[in-house]
Symmetry: C2
Subunit: 291 residues, 2 copies
């Protein structure tokens, strides 16, 4: 390679990716190889083979998912809502260009159609080619790819979905819209009777405001909501939150059943992810919010 991509530094013969989108914390990953690099109309896209995390997807210099732990996030954002809905047939995924969430959804034989709406085709292409541990199941014929703006796509759908999964990046730049009240309203209207949605709602430790705001906004629209957590090693803080908004009453956690093959999720994990740390429960209660 003649010139190194931006975001990559060479130090003493070794390649490093340094994430420096945060002011006070920098993380550097040692890189074996640059597997993919392209500047799409939306962002700079790389797949880097790292020593500690295997191949990983990097957008605008920030690690999005890695082969070693990406399945944790994907399984937890997919299987919790899909286990709660008694018969999910039509599923919408907003974002999720790494195809991991779609692959998890494809494990449900009762699902007839999975619409995956990702604005950036480059991300899908790079992930399918270079991140097989994440995107492996993406060849399932029930997955329909739409390379469009998720906000516009959702705004046009009516009574169409049983489950909507919002697999967004952090609320900066264009992804900010995916945390706005108008977007949640579109999701509400895109769900059919008894439908439910889930979104990643950031770290309870480092983005507590975003999390409680999402939780409050979802609560103003949906009659039922519930927050759960999972440990996502490569995300800041490790502890990550997800928020469900539902038109149907949610079952008690003990009643949730899950029997798909998975690496992180299990029946026990899916039932117990709703047990919240004391500080988090307090934070939501203070927000005037019944759990």
């Amino acid at each position: 390679m003649e010139r190194l991509p931006k975001y990559i530094q060479c130090s003493q013969g070794t390649l490093w990716l340094t994430e420096d989108e945060r002011d006070h914390l920098k993380i550097s990953y040692r890189i074996k190889d640059i597997l993919f690099e392209e500047t799409s109309p939306y962002q700079h896209v790389m797949v880097l083979d790292s020593y500690d995390f295997g191949p990983m997807l990097v957008l605008d210099g920030v690690v999005q998912t890695t082969s070693i732990d990406g399945h944790i996030y994907n399984e937890m954002i997919a299987h919790v809502p899909l286990s709660i809905h008694p018969h999910p047939r039509r599923v919408l995924i907003i974002g999720g260009g790494d195809c991991g969430v779609a692959g998890e959804a494809a494990k449900y034989s009762e699902i007839e159609r999975i619409d995956l709406v990702e604005i950036d085709e480059t991300v899908v292409r790079a992930s399918r080619r270079y991140l097989p541990e994440i995107a492996g199941n993406a060849c399932d014929p029930r997955i329909c790819f739409h390379y469009q703006d998720g906000v516009k796509f959702a705004a046009q759908a009516r009574d169409a979905y049983d489950v909507i999964i919002v697999d967004s990046s952090d609320p900066v730049g264009p992804a900010r819209q995916l945390f706005e009240p108008g977007f949640y309203r579109s999701l509400y209207e895109a769900l059919n009777e008894g439908g439910l949605m889930v979104c990643q709602s950031q770290s309870p430790i480092f983005h507590a405001e975003v999390m409680t705001q999402s939780y409050a906004r979802i609560g103003r629209l949906f009659p039922h909501r519930r927050l759960y957590t999972a440990t996502v090693p490569t995300y800041p803080g490790g502890l990550w939150s997800f928020t469900i908004g539902s038109k149907r009453a949610l079952p008690a956690p003990e009643q949730i059943r899950f029997d798909k093959p998975a690496r992180y999720a299990s029946g026990e994990i899916v039932r117990r992810c709703f047990a919240l740390p004391a500080f988090l429960r307090e934070m939501l209660e203070k927000d005037g919010a019944a759990l």
Copy 2:
């Protein structure tokens, strides 16, 4: 300050601590101030005030605990065994010089004596002075400080303790002994009838071998054992494991009661920390180990 301590770099007028004990991953923390620095007979000890994590304890350039999340680890290693034992009266803590675990143990009024065995008095002094969020409760008169080698201290104790908590650092250098069969045997003998011990057993993702080895070694000595996890944001991988070895039969998780004031732990969290991710359950089962 005339000269910067080793481990601290100044870049464009800003101080940074860069952890570089790992070959393939480097984490840099932006620092407001160096609150404490001393080279003890055992190690280089600092307390640094960081932007993202508040004051943090740094030994030989590696972050050990921080004001923002240190309580998660301390609560989870202390309250799970102390909630399981029906009437803990004498408690031994090996390591734990930041005093956080001792402070959590001091919340149990039935405990009569807490022996804290930390080899490095400097760590205790620095933590009590500059990490009040962690060491706040360390003034409890039931805590007896012993500035000695934990391995030797444990080897001399017989039938003396209800609960032993091994709050060790990573198994490199002197702490390696705290993961050896001989040390576990000392703990077994230091416990009275019905006693139980817990140790931090590293990351299931990044140190799976250390974890399964500890689990196997504890299983060869103790008739009952159980592994649990918690999310510890500043440790690599976020997901962290703890292993209990017990002379008494362990209660079903549902039967454990916990009612102390805490920031992370709650009854629900203490009962549900035993729900293991699928890959972790498999890993332990493959090891020929009943859970």
